[in-house]
Symmetry: D2
Subunit: 291 residues, 4 copies
């Protein structure tokens, strides 16, 4: 397919490359043009603006840091809303608020453009290795038509609903599941350490139980306190913790554990951890225990 791709950060670069390797014709745009040109050897064509990327494309995928960045790409000068062809589809892969996702569906609809939401689970190495878990929501026809794109970037695609924001709700609740696991590790490790038990031994037992690479990986990072450099910065995890609560409010579904995660991430922010890995949330429990 002839598609566009906007946002070549650590995640986006891997995703765009896998789309190219799958044989798609990809025009890319990034705020700093170097990253776009770096993909030329993989066959990408660099464009000068979101609107230029969209010219002639059946779909444009966006992978940006947050609501503000995506808003700028869509509504800014030479933006995607202006450039996207009639009947072409904006496929948003960013972890954004459900509110913005709803708004984008409406705004693109007004312009005769389509909108799919397809946030992804996985870190940059998974993006590079085509091992993302892709969550899709939006009109069924569009979801089916562009399924090959999702196959090209991930190892699993789940279509969760016909309204785009539903995929964002799933993504935010997924991050909530991970944050809850980190909180639980933090509290358990703090108790272990005050009891003279090596957290690595606790982790060995727990890994035997859960048999999950996510538990093994985060459990090790937290036991080793390897929070720097950050795989996923705490300030971004804090942003997502706020977003899931906004979604909970929209749905009138109380999520007290999500509130706790948000409060503890805010505590970590207030105590200077914004640029550490978000698993350093576990330090809050340690500090609260006097460690």
């Amino acid at each position: 397919m002839k598609i566009g791709f906007i946002g070549l950060g650590r995640m986006g670069t891997g995703m765009a490359r896998n789309l190219l390797h799958a044989g798609h014709e990809v025009t890319v745009y990034n705020r700093t043009r170097e990253k776009a040109e770096a993909l030329a050897s993989d066959g990408a064509r660099a464009a000068d603006s979101p609107a230029a990327v969209a010219r002639g494309a059946e779909a444009v995928m966006t992978m940006l840091a947050d609501d503000a960045a995506l808003r700028h790409v869509v509504y800014g000068e030479h933006g995607l809303a202006a450039g996207l062809e009639r009947d072409a589809v904006h496929i948003s892969c960013s972890t954004i608020s459900t509110a913005l996702s709803r708004e984008l569906a409406a705004e693109h609809g007004k312009r005769g453009q389509g909108y799919l939401s397809s946030p992804v689970f996985g870190r940059p190495d998974a993006a590079a290795a085509k091992k993302l878990v892709v969550v899709v929501a939006g009109p069924a026809e569009a979801a089916a038509k562009f399924h090959p794109l999702f196959d090209a970037i991930g190892r699993q695609t789940t279509v969760v609903g016909t309204e785009g924001w539903q995929a964002n709700a799933v993504k935010l609740c997924g991050n909530f599941m991970i944050a809850s696991m980190i909180e639980a590790f933090g509290e358990a490790y703090a108790a272990m350490r005050k009891g003279g038990i090596d957290p690595h031994l606790f982790l060995e037992a727990i890994s035997g139980l859960f048999a999950s690479p996510v538990y093994a990986n985060y459990g090790r990072i937290i036991a080793d306190e390897q929070f720097d450099p950050a795989g996923f910065a705490l300030k971004l995890g804090y942003k997502d913790a706020r977003l899931v609560l906004e979604t909970a409010q929209e749905l009138a579904a109380p999520m007290p554990l999500a509130s706790m995660n948000r409060d503890h991430l805010m505590q970590a922010m207030a105590q200077g951890q914004q640029d550490l890995d978000w698993s350093s949330l576990a330090r809050v429990a340690a500090r609260n225990a006097g460690i």
Copy 2:
């Protein structure tokens, strides 16, 4: 080895059978004698009391429901404390309080008897299939000597410390990790359902992420609301949630998520769910969301 085994419930029966299959000479005791006799075909000898089980045994394993049951077996008439040989070892596999574990170490010590704590992770099917995860703590020499017994009942043994109660702390914190996962599932599913998203689709995405049989299994039970019959009754999960908080108090390590789990399990108790599976904790979040 010549050993005793007390407590032939759904867990204990599988464990005793695997000890027999590994070639150990096992004398068993159960409050209702039928269960003891049922193991005769596997080679077990049934005894009339905890004290009788202990006669001539190098070690006696106990697998009982709670502190009260274990206290009765140890301190009751013809109890284990009275019957255990000098230098023989009581190996406690039950999920009990760290306080009782400390007390047992001291009491057996006064009598010249040894004490190891070796609680296990796994449900009855894992006990039958020799797939338990065994957590051991106690004097290093004894832990090494009886390692073959742990190998006989599980797929993994982790020695976490030289004081018996430390293994109980690990076990209770492990159950806390599971309860926290259930709480997170409950909140996420409630949000999903209020958003018109099938929890099974959320689970599909999340299972892709965590790749853990524990997530897949609990996630499915909760999505299907298959809480009856209980694999592990909510009232027992509530008991463990209280025990982990007692341990947290002993260690002066605040565990606010453990408090939340306990409060929500108490809510489930107050609303009549004591005999359902403890994963029905998830119903609390649903009800709180007006579902």
Copy 3:
């Protein structure tokens, strides 16, 4: 002084009347004109728009339901921003977000207009009886100049800072203190009732302790379950609970009890209590205890 007053709900009517009684020349505006005309006998002049109210006035006080209503009055057609004289001051008494308060200070400033924030504590009967507690923040000169207006509507005025939003932060945190008291009453009463103790007797003891009319009043309403008609609707209390958390986020000050209040108010919303008095928050604890 020659002033304007916008927003003649149950609170605003009492406040405007007391300003008239104190001898000020007051022009009033209300969306439904009847309420404005009802004050004619007290000497008020009714105007047709926020802008018309502002003509020739040294200050215009606003007392509206929420951010949206105030935004409409300020920025809408014939709005206050357009009509307020240069050097005249907008005195905002509404319980609004600190974010909007900051924005208004900036927007009025751009137009050469002043801005004070002066939210009030007290129910409609206190507004009528000139017994409000007034919290003021903004430029010191303006706060001093208009002090007579605050004296005219309340029994106590506290100036808390030189930036308008600070008064809103105080007001929101004050409502948080009340919500926390309601939560505490709810949990204590639930325990009392499950223990066969009449909540009224608990209240008698507690009132002896706190000697506060607020405790006596709310404690009685909750013990009697007199939640309808609402003195202050739960949905408004829920709004304020969300606003205080937004302020907490702006300030990077975790407020876990505010999170709990918000979650329990959301639970009450999800269970249909939006139009009951916000003290019906106490029902959540009762229901969670199986009552």
Copy 4:
């Protein structure tokens, strides 16, 4: 009446003196005899043991630090259980667990002795000034007969039920109300301070609202951070926070705010505040906000 009084700490001394001033014949006992003799000038007779105090007395009041101290006085050598006359009544004023209160009612009952529970609200100065709030529970006849004793020590007596433990539940829930207020102050002050608002100004507004001496007093202590010397030590507040949760468990009434109070008090313990005033709980919120 001819009565005994055991426990002459800062609270008990004031209470015993007021009983003497009301004309009662009081024999006293204290572990350190000096405190007993100090009351001789007020007319007290000192005895050598709890049992000796009880000889010939219609009632014996006890005012001790905790469950352990009261257990020792009742069950220890020359204890109250042994010495109390048949049909005489043990009136327990200490803040103890509901479990111990139930046990004492049963144990005294077996011996043909009566039992009333009458914990008090108020600090030592209130005890001295006869301004305690007395909460009474137990058999109605005994509660009526000894009402003059309660009148002699307090300004208000509330009879809350016919089972002694009910008064202890009221007392523990009352302390929970105070702890919740302290937590709310702590969170609000932390937000104020991060917003550049003097907590004393917030307190002025809040005091205008609540008009409660308890708010004024605690609010000032916390704003001034005058936590040393302690009026009521944090370790004792922590003990009571644990006891109210035990009662909540007995009653199957979830008290999530009580859990939060306990966790934050535990955090304060872990961070070295055990001997400061319990209002230093507010420091936890400040520290969590990075102050």
